[in-house]
């Protein structure tokens, strides 16, 4: 069996990076993001990237570090409100931006991985994002066409992997990671733990290993964006 386990993010990305490439990066906010691959991509010096990710990290963390280093030419996202440098580069015309409704973005990625180049949704009909898109009636309602998305590589974060690349995610850190695993020509998964074959329950594999070409055990800061708590008194 071809070995899928790599030593670190640098080695897992070896030979895959080139200027102008398209990268999908998993995560929602700072939750479930591929911290190790992002750092390695920054170190590599690769530039002019198109990055597909729901958000763009925050200033100085997550995808924000690629933005700060001016490696991103274009973002395809649904929300970038946590990032001042993003706003600055965008307003200065240094950065291209394509906003997608979050569900449309998620479905475009799933479609890309599932061999579906186009599909119709109601989301966004009558808004500025509908401009230039093909519209069609189904049962008297108007829908518009969205297209599938693929990437040269997908960098994703999971909780555990076995040696075949079967993945499980933890709680809401799942988010965009499973679809992106299917839509990258090569998918690099970074995980908290690599377990032996047979340790994961076959009924509950979130991403089958067929979608994962390279796996590393990463180190994670897991920064929290909005720590909100209640006190025992409130209960």
């Amino acid at each position: 069996m071809a070995n899928k386990i790599f030593e670190n993010a640098e080695q897992a990305l070896d030979g895959l990076l080139f200027d102008g490439m398209t990268i999908m990066a998993g995560g929602f906010g700072l939750c479930g993001i591929p911290e190790n691959a992002i750092a390695a991509i920054k170190s590599s010096g690769v530039k002019d990237l198109t990055v597909i990710s729901n958000n763009c990290g925050v200033d100085g963390f997550g995808l924000g570090i690629l933005l700060d280093a001016k490696r991103i030419r274009k973002m395809i996202s649904s929300y970038v409100g946590e990032n001042k440098e993003f706003e600055r580069q965008y307003i200065a015309g240094e950065l291209e931006l394509e906003f997608n409704p979050q569900g449309t973005l998620a479905e475009r990625i799933r479609a890309g991985g599932a061999g579906i180049p186009g599909f119709f949704v109601k989301t966004g009909v009558g808004t500025i994002i509908a401009e230039g898109k093909e519209h069609k009636e189904f049962d008297g309602e108007t829908y518009m066409m969205e297209t599938g998305l693929k990437a040269d590589i997908s960098i994703i974060k999971a909780w555990k992997s076995d040696t075949e690349g079967n993945l499980i995610y933890r709680k809401t850190a799942r988010n965009f990671n499973p679809m992106m695993a299917t839509a990258g020509k090569i998918t690099i998964a970074e995980v908290e733990e690599i377990v032996e074959l047979g340790e994961l329950d076959p009924e509950n594999i979130h991403t089958p290993g067929i979608y994962v070409q390279r796996v590393i055990k990463g180190k994670f800061e897991k920064r929290i964006e909005q720590k909100t708590t209640r006190s025992r008194g409130d209960a």
């Binding site: 409704p101 479905e107 995610y169 909005q226 209640r230």
Partner: protein
């Protein structure tokens, strides 16, 4: 006296029905969870991939892998299920969520909503808002009746880029409750001590009987 933010949330909570699956937006809609009436059991969806959202965690329960769509730390319940963003929005787009309660910058008498963009000023992205207003069975907006300059937020036609078209069912403001009906907005309820004249003066949208 016009309703406070908390009053508006409490009024919005009256819209909940037992067994409902509900998505609550950021701001006043989040407060709705504090006012769920006795005997009413609802399941909260968080569009980043969770059904059955629990309260904020105690300090020692905080988990970076467990956040809501507002990126706040939360907890799970015994009924909770987790899923991907694609599955989450399949649920939303497919019309399986009973009710979405969200804020707005403007709404129109035709049921349009604008809440994601102020050209050249606020360009953060729509997140899941467009999916929610287009997909959820019933959409209720909770917002102040007028903006800080005193201008009506209930308009003939939205001036800002739309989040969705003809998708709002009801609007709850500090002055009252309004339904989107043929020809305009219908006054369903008036906040205590608010006069109809004040509503008329504060509303650009056509008000119908």
């Amino acid at each position: 006296m016009a309703w406070t933010r908390d009053d508006m949330a409490a009024r919005a909570a009256q819209e909940l029905q037992d067994g409902f699956y509900v998505n609550l937006g950021i701001g006043i809609p989040t407060l709705v969870a504090n006012h769920i009436p006795d005997g009413i059991d609802v399941t909260l969806q968080s569009e980043n991939g969770m059904l059955g959202m629990g309260p904020f965690p105690f300090e020692d329960e905080v988990d970076a892998d467990l956040i809501n769509a507002g990126k706040q730390t939360i907890t799970e319940l015994r009924r909770t299920s987790y899923f991907s963003s694609a599955d989450s929005f399949a649920m939303i787009r497919g019309g399986h969520i009973d009710l979405s309660i969200l804020g707005a910058m403007e709404i129109s008498e035709g049921g349009d909503i604008a809440n994601w963009m102020i050209p050249k000023k606020m360009v953060k992205g729509m997140g899941g808002a467009m999916d929610l207003v287009a997909g959820v069975k019933r959409v209720i907006v909770v917002m102040d009746h007028t903006n800080k300059a005193g201008a009506s937020k209930l308009l003939r036609k939205c001036s800002l880029p739309l989040t969705g078209q003809a998708c709002i069912n009801r609007v709850i403001t500090n002055l009252g409750v309004f339904d989107v009906v043929d020809g305009g907005l219908k006054v369903v309820e008036i906040a205590p001590d608010v006069e109809m004249t004040q509503i008329v003066a504060s509303t650009e949208a056509n008000l119908v009987e």
